[in-house]
């Protein structure tokens, strides 16, 4: 298991009584003391410990100038598909799936767009994040639709971890400026603790960058500016009797200029994204058994997407607005009935209501309701040397009937640092509302689509569990049926169809070593993703990818080098168009020059590769440098 988090202890001889006007003593900065522990090995609390996952929690990484997507890009089997440039869209795909088959959540609220599928991680760049967890493998048994490849769970700062005040200012390439701030405070109210967190941020970037196009011509990528705002408030209370309640309101607005295709650039296309997330949750003691827990939550989520182009390179003016309202409730409980047996049960329900409006087309209001119940059994001795987890979800999805989603996980620790694990599960993804109902004349959705259905499994070994060093090797497979693709029906018409399916096989290798002031991490992923019908490779899935981080920390100064290499990929379904292999070197310098302030300098794409393209053959930026001043108290 990789080391998830390192805790640093700073001794500060400052006294400050809450609400008092006590005089603070002079702060004394002493060398940091690293405490290496084995934190919660399963980032996703709902996931069995046999499931592979990683947690990103370092502020400098979470707040990387190129957004949260970059924070997870160095993890095995995680692929970031980005448009390029600060603030532009970046979606994540895990274990060779599509972004729409990777579920992203914010404090448990699903962020995948019911219309478009997937979630734009760059839209979380201003959120005061505490952790970003990536769980790999099919998680539909616990999360429902979209969690075929895995789950990316973003968690905001916990108000009850306060007092905590943070602010960061980033400036750098492409005329980018980003300001984030948050404040958490805790009050003791009788026997209870009440915490409140407020935070927000803004970001602006000109976005223009130089690149070399397909024809070898040096050009400037214009019309790529972004502007974003975000704000949130969160209140949590720890009540006597082991209860906790939590409430959150979060909103974000992002505006982007869309530069268009490399050879057909746009100077008029624009996009606006909005997000409102409200959530209330309660956590309390077990309902049965010797130990356990009970949870309930409800959310409302509104995702808005608006795209307009008054003068596209070809065709009439276009404008589309998609608004998705979603509500959901979830309740679950688990109790240990026997030293070897814990049982749990839960239910969840959700409703999505969409509003689709297009210039020149009739408005639509698609909707969808889902209801499911689930049970869980965890079996294993009190010594915790092994554990078997069995999940079963039975769900009804409006328009698609009832389906049972089982999952089985096994973990065995035969000897201290050695862990063996295996998981198998069924996964599914409901068609998005656009895949079902999209109609732009010659490109159409298909209301008769069936959900994608997958069998996923993995197995592996971890050596160094609980140690400052470790190696993990995992083999995995995803076998997907009814893969949804937009396919040509003739020379004129393209329509969403359930194609034959796909098989994705892969190997993940992770290694880590921490020694005094030196930290080394590496991840290698082998991916063989092929269409079932033709046996041809799926586009945008590199066969080989290596990511590494080598860090040195000497006192208050830390230097990290982050090389990454990816083999060439095909850009189409026929293995005809390809993008060459790509090497990229990033670096970071951190300097904590006081207990309150730190400075980071991030340099990305140091080799200044300017002819790379994204999954839609749009250019990616060359070298960039950003400076971040970070304050925390």
């Amino acid at each position: 298991m990789m080391r998830q988090r390192a805790a640093r202890l700073f001794l500060i001889a400052a006294l400050s009584a809450p609400g008092a006007s006590a005089r603070a003593q002079e702060a004394v900065v002493v060398p940091s003391i690293e405490v290496v522990g084995d934190p919660d090995p399963t980032p996703d609390r709902t996931a069995p410990r046999s499931v592979r996952g990683d947690r990103v929690s370092e502020p400098a990484v979470l707040e990387a100038p190129d957004g949260p997507a970059a924070a997870v890009a160095r993890l095995p089997s995680v692929q970031v598909l980005s448009v390029g440039g600060p603030g532009q869209a970046a979606v994540v795909a895990v274990r060779g799936t599509d972004p729409s088959a990777t579920l992203t959540t914010l404090d448990g609220v699903p962020l995948n767009s019911p219309f478009l599928g997937g979630a734009d991680l760059s839209a979380l760049a201003l959120v005061p994040l505490d952790t970003l967890d990536v769980v790999r493998g099919g998680r539909s048994a616990s999360h429902g639709t979209d969690a075929v490849g895995g789950v990316v769970a973003a968690r905001t700062l916990d108000p009850l971890d306060g007092p905590d005040t943070r602010a960061s200012l980033t400036a750098g390439s492409f005329s980018t400026v980003r300001l984030k701030a948050s404040h958490a405070h805790v009050w003791e109210v009788g026997p209870h603790d009440v915490g409140m967190l407020v935070g927000g941020g803004l970001m602006a970037s000109d976005g223009a960058f130089e690149f070399v196009d397909t024809n070898g011509i040096r050009r400037v990528r214009d019309h790529s500016a972004t502007l974003g705002f975000q704000g949130m408030g969160r209140v949590a209370a720890r009540l006597s009797g082991g209860h906790r309640i939590d409430g959150m309101v979060e909103g974000a607005l992002g505006r982007r200029q869309i530069a268009g295709l490399e050879q057909y650039p746009s100077t008029t296309a624009r996009q606006q994204d909005t997000r409102v997330v409200t959530r209330v949750a309660w956590e309390g003691p077990r309902l049965f058994g010797d130990s356990g827990w009970t949870r309930a939550s409800a959310f409302y989520r509104r995702l808005g997407f608006a795209y307009q182009d008054s003068a596209p390179p070809s065709g009439p003016p276009t404008a589309t607005t998609l608004i998705a309202h979603g509500v959901g409730v979830d309740a679950a409980t688990e109790g240990r009935l026997h030293p070897w047996v814990a049982l749990g049960a839960g239910m969840d329900a959700g409703h999505d209501l969409g509003e689709a409006r297009r210039l020149g087309a009739r408005p639509g209001a698609p909707s969808r309701t889902t209801v499911s119940g689930r049970i869980r059994g965890r079996f294993g001795p009190p010594s915790d040397r092994f554990e078997t987890t069995l999940d079963l979800r039975v769900g009804w999805d409006q328009g698609f009937g009832v389906r049972a989603i089982p999952a089985l996980g096994v973990r065995y620790d035969p000897w201290g640092p050695l862990r063996l694990f295996a998981n198998v599960s069924r996964g599914f993804r409901l068609p998005t509302l656009e895949e079902l109902h999209f109609d732009a004349g010659f490109v159409q959705g298909n209301p008769n689509l069936a959900p994608e259905d997958a069998l996923t499994w993995d197995a592996g070994v971890e050596l160094g569990h609980g140690r400052p060093w470790g190696v993990t090797a995992t083999y995995f497979e995803n076998r997907v049926r009814n893969l949804i693709l937009f396919l040509p029906r003739s020379a004129f018409l393209v329509r969403a169809e359930n194609s034959g399916g796909a098989v994705v096989r892969g190997v993940e290798l992770q290694a880590r070593w921490a020694w005094r002031w030196f930290d080394l991490r590496a991840a290698y992923t082998f991916l063989d993703a092929r269409f079932g019908d033709t046996g041809l490779r799926m586009p945008q899935r590199p066969a080989h990818e290596v990511q590494g981080t080598a860090s040195v920390r000497l006192g208050p100064v830390g230097i990290s080098a982050m090389p990454g290499w990816r083999s060439g990929v095909f850009l189409d379904r026929f293995e005809s168009l390809s993008e060459e292999a790509r090497f990229r070197l990033d670096a970071r310098l951190d300097w904590a020059f006081s207990s309150l302030l730190s400075l980071s300098v991030d340099a990305m794409n140091l080799t200044d590769k300017r002819d790379g393209v994204d999954h839609l053959q749009r250019p990616l930026p060359g070298r960039s440098v950003f400076l971040t001043i970070r304050g925390r108290r």
Partner: protein
């Protein structure tokens, strides 16, 4: 405290809701007619006074052909008016290749001029007519026409002197919209862009021999398809289906398929989409097929037995649209990349030659021709830029971005 927190949450939620509720731009409210989008057409927005000719020399130019000292370009004049596709009467632009100047524009009295081919004494221009979309099928919505202009009168003609119309047949609603042209002797074969049908015209007599009422059918008349047709070996015709990735060798007189010479190309189970073809008499290979959806070239060698198909003869760039055999090399026009690349016709190996066009020009068709002094020129139409680009295509020359622009 709890009431305060609850109030804060509710208030914040309400504010957020109100703020964002008014934030989404709605399509109906924007892009009003007075400022609502550009007229995206080969014709300029002011192209409304004269239905026969626009004020510009080119209007959505597509096919072109070299005819002696002239270059003849077919202007389709299709575009978008508001939200709908509009087809106007096409016209031919005649360019003097010696001076690179437009010397004549000839209205064609037929819609959607797409293809140009040079016959013995005339230039023939295929006007496909217009179509409508019923939500599932593209249906011909007007007659097509094959018009002829005498070679001797290209610089001065004000109209075609031969017009062979292809009226629709109501009993075969998909059969029509001729979109590919092959001239074999005094016969013209045309492939339908909407069905698996071939039409034939007698160029000498100037009459339609097989039209939409009695086509050569290579599939069900009620199924959408697109046929590309080119001359093959002497006495033979090549027809290829976009939807089925199937090729036929036909008798050039009767249009009847030759037994044993029908085969499929491309990846089984997928629509690779045969968009264009080229015949090489000095093969092997003999036949090249541009698979537009698959972005590659398939090559076929004909011998004594079954034709040998090399499904992955060469790759192309993005959104390939046209193919042209030029001596020992095959020129490939990539609309998505705004360039023309070349491969060795015998081996499929990519050659150094490349010609790049300006951004957003959307190259559509190409032609090559020798010029006085031993040079050779490549001519490429820019569908969205309303221009023709001229490149030096002499032996060993790599023009890159250097070109002459004719507007």
């Amino acid at each position: 405290m709890m009431r305060f927190c609850r109030s804060l949450l509710l208030g914040g939620a309400a504010l957020a809701w109100l703020a964002l509720a008014g934030c989404e731009p709605m399509p109906d409210a924007m892009l009003r007619p007075d400022g609502g989008g550009a007229w995206r057409d080969g014709a300029a927005p002011s192209d409304s006074g004269d239905d026969r000719l626009p004020p510009t020399n080119f209007a959505a130019p597509e096919g072109l052909a070299v005819a002696g000292d002239y270059l003849v370009v077919a202007n389709s004049r299709y575009g978008f008016d508001g939200a709908g596709l509009v087809f106007r009467e096409g016209f031919a632009t005649v360019v003097d290749r010696r001076t690179a100047r437009v010397v004549n524009r000839i209205p064609l009295a037929a819609k959607n001029a797409q293809v140009v081919a040079t016959g013995t004494d005339r230039v023939w221009i295929l006007c496909s007519g217009q179509t409508r979309f019923d939500g599932a099928l593209v249906i011909p919505d007007g007659e097509g026409a094959l018009v002829g202009i005498p070679l001797a009168g290209l610089a001065t003609a004000d109209a075609p002197d031969r017009v062979i119309r292809l009226p629709l047949d109501p009993s075969r609603p998909l059969v029509g919209y001729p979109s590919s042209l092959a001239i074999v002797g005094d016969r013209a074969w045309m492939g339908s862009g909407t069905a698996a049908a071939l039409f034939q015209a007698d160029l000498g007599a100037g009459r339609l021999v097989r039209g939409p009422d009695n086509p050569v059918l290579l599939g069900a008349a009620g199924d959408q398809d697109t046929l590309t047709v080119i001359p093959g070996s002497p006495g033979r015709l090549i027809a290829a289906s976009f939807n089925r990735d199937r090729v036929w060798v036909l008798d050039a007189v009767t249009g009847a398929p030759i037994d044993g010479l029908s085969f499929e190309v491309g990846v089984s189970g997928s629509m690779d989409g045969i968009l264009a073809a080229a015949w090489r008499p000095d093969g092997p290979p003999n036949l090249y097929l541009l698979l537009g959806m698959a972005s590659r070239i398939a090559a076929v060698t004909f011998g004594a037995g079954t034709p040998q198909v090399f499904g992955n003869f060469a790759g192309t760039g993005s959104l390939p649209n046209s193919l042209l055999l030029d001596g020992d090399r095959l020129l490939i026009l990539n609309s998505g990349d705004n360039n023309v690349r070349a491969i060795d016709a015998a081996t499929g190996v990519e050659l150094a030659f490349w010609a790049s066009l300006p951004l957003s020009s959307n190259p559509y068709g190409m032609a090559v021709g020798d010029v006085a002094g031993g040079g050779r020129r490549l001519y490429v139409t820019g569908l969205m830029s309303n221009a023709v680009y001229v490149f030096d295509a002499g032996p060993g020359v790599v023009p890159g971005g250097q070109h002459q622009e004719i507007r």
